[in-house]
């Protein structure tokens, strides 16, 4: 394997991992507040179609990302009303949101199925991009790749260094205690859920505006679910989400490895495509094998409805 190939594999891995980081970090925040939204797949699909449509009509990919963000947030608002205000079952409602988003995105996106967007040029960071191998693959990237890093930094600061982050975690660990000392549990959960939705929408728009760049029904292809699994795999820690997302990114571009290896092996493409899903199952097994790992790290109230008494 020569350096050029390593460079292109690394480049592809970073790109493939980026939507997972954005979506999973958004879910992480929602889950830290105690809300389990299994609708990420549907929110991403809506983000993808909204992002594509707006970029297609305005020619501005950033307006597309903004539209994706709004679409994802609106979807999560629907979820939040059902589970937070009306106290619906979070698992079932999340599933419903995924099915609904899948259908609605296919419906809305029909006119755009044969359209293609102009590729967005990469943003080169001076000096850093000159480092051999990692320079071009890490620092001559899509702008959203850098934004994902910024998001990561912001979330680490928010969760562990800010007062609001502490409050968010308190709500997830014990909503009744947070309520009894006067914090608005439901309002905080609303905001965390909306943030998770907005990020899922951004992740979806990254797929349709920057990554492919086109819109096809079902193009999210399980990434929303993988992002949810990633949060479990990362035991609700942002740094592990980052690392895990790139590992999964690497698995998603496995065909590059095979091509790059120069070996004359004939692996069916379907097998390579199934690797991310199999990898998800394997990491879930590894992480849940010891019951305490998940139990000690998961937000205590995750997935449970809460209704303040007074």
């Amino acid at each position: 394997m020569n350096l050029d190939i390593i460079e292109s594999i690394l480049f592809a891995t970073i790109i493939a991992g980026t939507p997972l980081i954005i979506v999973a970090l958004g879910q992480l925040i929602a889950e830290k507040s105690g809300v389990l939204n299994l609708g990420a797949e549907g929110m991403m699909a809506m983000g993808a179609v909204a992002g594509f449509a707006v970029t297609f009509h305005t020619g501005n990919p950033w307006l597309g990302v903004l539209a994706g963000m709004v679409a994802g947030a609106l979807m999560s608002l629907l979820f939040a009303v059902v589970v937070l205000t009306l106290m619906g079952n979070q698992v079932a409602t999340g599933l419903a949101l995924s099915i609904f988003g899948g259908g609605l995105s296919a419906f809305v996106g029909k006119p755009y199925e044969s359209e293609v967007l102009e590729a967005v040029p990469t943003l080169r960071i001076p000096l850093l991009a000159d480092i051999p191998v990692i320079g071009p693959s890490l620092f001559n990237q899509q702008p959203l790749v850098y934004l994902a890093w910024a998001l990561f930094g912001g979330i680490v600061w928010f969760l562990y260094k800010s007062r609001s982050g502490l409050l968010l975690r308190a709500v997830g660990e014990s909503p009744s205690s947070a309520h009894s000392i006067g914090y608005p549990v439901i309002r905080i959960r609303y905001m965390a859920t909306l943030f998770g939705g907005a990020m899922a929408g951004v992740g979806g728009s990254f797929l349709s505006v920057f990554y492919t760049p086109l819109w096809v029904e079902g193009m999210v292809a399980g990434r929303g679910w993988i992002a949810i699994a990633l949060v479990v795999f990362a035991t609700w820690r942002p740094f592990r989400v980052l690392v895990g997302a790139y590992l999964f990114g690497g698995v998603m571009v496995a065909q590059f490895f095979v091509q790059g290896s120069g070996l004359d092996i004939n692996i069916p493409s379907q097998f390579l495509s199934s690797l991310p899903y199999l990898a998800t199952i394997i990491v879930l097994v590894i992480i849940s094998r010891d019951q305490n790992t998940v139990r000690l790290n998961a937000p205590v109230s995750l997935g449970q409805s809460y209704r303040p008494d007074a």
């Binding site: 299994l38 549907g42 629907l78 009303v81 059902v82 009306l86 106290m87 619906g88 079952n89 698992v91 079932a92 409602t93 599933l95 419903a96 949101l97 099915i99 609904f100 988003g101 899948g102 259908g103 609605l104 296919a106 419906f107 029909k110 029904e217 292809a221 399980g222 679910w225 993988i226 949810i228 699994a229 479990v232 069916p268 379907q270 097998f271 495509s273 199934s274 899903y277 199999l278 998800t280 199952i281 879930l284 097994v285 849940s288 094998r289 019951q291 998940v294």
Partner: protein, 352 residues
């Protein structure tokens, strides 16, 4: 202002009324959707809900589409009652279709009733094997069955794609990704002349009866109900949680597998990549709308089947994408989950 107030007791009336409320809300949603698209809502409703049933063929199609939904939903309901969330019925449905097709192709150019029988057995075994993966991982490693069963849907879709491009491809089919057309002896018999409704509908009805007996008349069914309502009570009573996981997942997998082979050996007549038709996901909605009750599943399946047919009609006559079905289905479930709040709470008006 309006506020929710807990009821002293859960309302029996509302637990039946809330699915109806959800249907009404879904229709209102549809009205808004049609208007927003600039279509005449009355005409839209006529095409969507009335025109599919205008002749005997249409009614046959309704029951044909409801069949896999009934089969899968009753299988899933057994597990859902015990809070075992098998979300991957779609994958189990595909693998049932694959396993049954393997039998059909193995017996290609031979005759006899044993072929169909073996196909259906293979279909249910195929579905159960696929469901046994999350069951094993859940009982052995405590792995979340939602995510595992769901990931296996994608794997199943890729597996069937590989099979019809390779080992199962029709050798005389000009490289189209599809199997041979099944022979007469591997096709389910038609029940009513002039329709495509086949014998699988009878399997679905029997499954509903068996499901009813299991849920309401068997000790194991009772145990699973207890586990779903009060996990700790079930544990103190010594009910085996692992056995429930296995039964919950295998019942869903087995039924989904039968649904899969029934689709292949019914309206499709061969296995292709298009076997995946979202019945596995729609059946989840059916199970919820039906309150996990077999009689409810019968009617909810018909409703969902009508939404499918309506989507096809809307595509044909109103130039709308057929995915409008999924929009209606998703709305139905969201509204149901929302209106369920009124089972335990009531709206009251308070000043200040």
């Amino acid at each position: 202002m309006l506020r929710l107030e807990p009821r002293a007791q859960p309302s029996q009336l509302m637990s039946y009324a809330s699915p109806l409320l959800a249907i009404v809300l879904m229709l209102i949603g549809g009205l808004i959707l049609f208007s927003a698209l600039g279509k005449d809502p009355v005409e839209g409703f006529r095409i969507f809900f009335i025109s599919p049933l205008s002749d005997i063929y249409g009614v046959g199609e309704l029951f044909l589409k409801a069949t896999p939904l009934m089969l899968i939903a009753i299988g899933l309901a057994v597990g859902f009652r015990a809070n075992i969330w098998n979300i991957g019925a779609e994958g189990q449905y595909i693998m049932g279709g694959v396993a049954g097709s393997a039998v059909a192709l193995y017996f290609y150019e031979s005759e006899g009733p044993h072929i169909l029988f073996l196909m259906i057995v293979a279909g249910s075994v195929g579905g159960m094997l696929w469901a046994s993966i999350p069951a094993f991982l859940k009982t052995r490693f405590n792995t979340n069955e939602i995510l595992v069963s769901l990931m296996l849907v994608y794997v199943a879709q890729l597996a069937v794609s590989w099979l019809v491009h390779g080992p199962m491809m029709d050798p005389d089919g000009f490289n189209f990704p599809q199997s041979r057309m099944f022979e007469e002896s591997a096709i389910l018999p038609i029940l009513i002349k002039g329709t495509r409704l086949n014998a699988a509908f009878l399997f679905a009805l029997s499954a509903l009866v068996v499901g009813y007996i299991f849920m309401y008349r068997s000790f194991l069914g009772f145990q699973m109900q207890v586990a779903g309502n009060a996990k700790n009570a079930a544990r103190y009573a010594g009910f085996s949680a692992k056995r429930m996981v296995w039964i919950g997942l295998l019942s869903g997998g087995g039924m989904a597998g039968i649904a899969g082979i029934s689709e292949v050996a019914g309206p499709m007549g061969q296995i292709t990549e298009h076997i995946s038709s979202n019945y596995g996901f729609a059946a989840i909605i059916v199970a919820f709308v039906a309150r996990l009750n077999p009689i409810g599943i019968f009617f909810a399946s018909l409703l969902m089947a009508l939404l499918y047919l309506g989507g096809e009609q809307a595509q044909q006559y109103m130039n709308l994408p057929s995915s409008i079905s999924n929009v209606f289905q998703g709305m139905l479930l969201m509204f149901l989950l929302g209106s369920d709040v009124f089972i335990n709470y009531r709206l009251t008006w308070k000043r200040g």
